[in-house]
């Protein structure tokens, strides 16, 4: 169980450093599933919350990405903000 807890904590810390948003979200959900299957409810809850917050915050263009052409085709606002219901 200690190994699972350590692995979950490692995933929660290191996944946000990944560049691709789809890879980040997929890894967040995979880690949450693994945590939930091992009975770590709080860790799974935190990972899902991180995934949803990340999906919300990734609506804005990043400095690392080629945002110009893609962003111009969007109609909705790209303003990023935190979810009021998912605060710490």
């Amino acid at each position: 169980m200690a190994f699972v807890k350590a692995s979950t904590a490692f995933c929660q810390i290191t996944i946000p450093s990944i560049a691709g948003v789809t890879a980040r979200l997929g890894l967040f959900l995979s880690a949450a599933e693994a945590a939930l299957l091992n009975g770590l409810v709080q860790q799974a809850d935190g990972l899902v919350r991180s995934a949803i917050t990340d999906a919300q915050e990734s609506t804005g263009a990043t400095a690392a990405g080629a945002a110009g052409a893609a962003a111009s085709r969007r109609t909705a606002s790209s303003t990023t903000f935190r979810l009021p219901t998912l605060g710490p």
């Binding site: 948003v21 789809t22 899902v48 949803i52 609506t59 109609t75 909705a76 790209s78 979810l83 219901t85």
Partner: protein
């Protein structure tokens, strides 16, 4: 003498960083996939003891509500239908699947009328994708209506079976 060479990533910095860095249809498909996978996980994830049983689910609904969907895309229809499936599943007295050794919301909030009210109110969206298929391109519009009809048919079949 061994030289200490810094490890430099060979990945280009132009890799995808956010939704708007992707091509619109790729971002829409990824968002739909994320919604479906997240909804499948939220079926068994227990609610928060103080913030409510559908605390995370409300966040997912809000993400889909504010996501920058590309115009004339049918992806928001699929995303909202995934949320409809989730609401129909959470409203059942017994959830269709469980994690062994884990009590889900059907056990934690069994028989509470407040939970049923929470399920009904959690999936209220401020913007519905009803205007999304409106497209001067007739083929795209027909495909959108067809996809929506197929998904709604499956949803109605689920309701009839349950």
């Amino acid at each position: 003498m061994q030289s200490n060479v810094a490890c430099v990533s060979t990945r280009p910095w132009s890799e995808v960083g956010g939704w708007t860095d992707m091509r619109p249809h790729e971002a829409d498909d990824a968002a739909v996939g994320f919604t479906r996978r997240c909804a499948a996980l939220l079926v068994v994830l227990p609610g928060h003891p103080t913030k409510g049983p559908l605390y995370i689910t409300r966040g997912l609904v809000r993400v889909m509500d504010t996501f920058p969907w590309s115009p004339h895309s049918i992806a928001p229809v699929h995303a909202y239908l995934a949320l409809v499936h989730l609401s129909a599943t959470l409203a059942q007295a017994a959830l269709p699947y469980h994690v062994p050794g884990l009590q889900s919301n059907d056990v934690l909030y069994a028989g509470e009328p407040a939970y049923g009210q929470e399920v009904r109110t959690a999936f209220t969206c401020t913007s519905y994708p009803i205007n999304v298929p409106v497209n001067p391109n007739l083929r795209s519009y027909q495909r959108a209506v067809l996809a929506m009809n197929v998904d709604l048919t499956f949803y109605l079949l689920e309701l009839i079976i349950l």
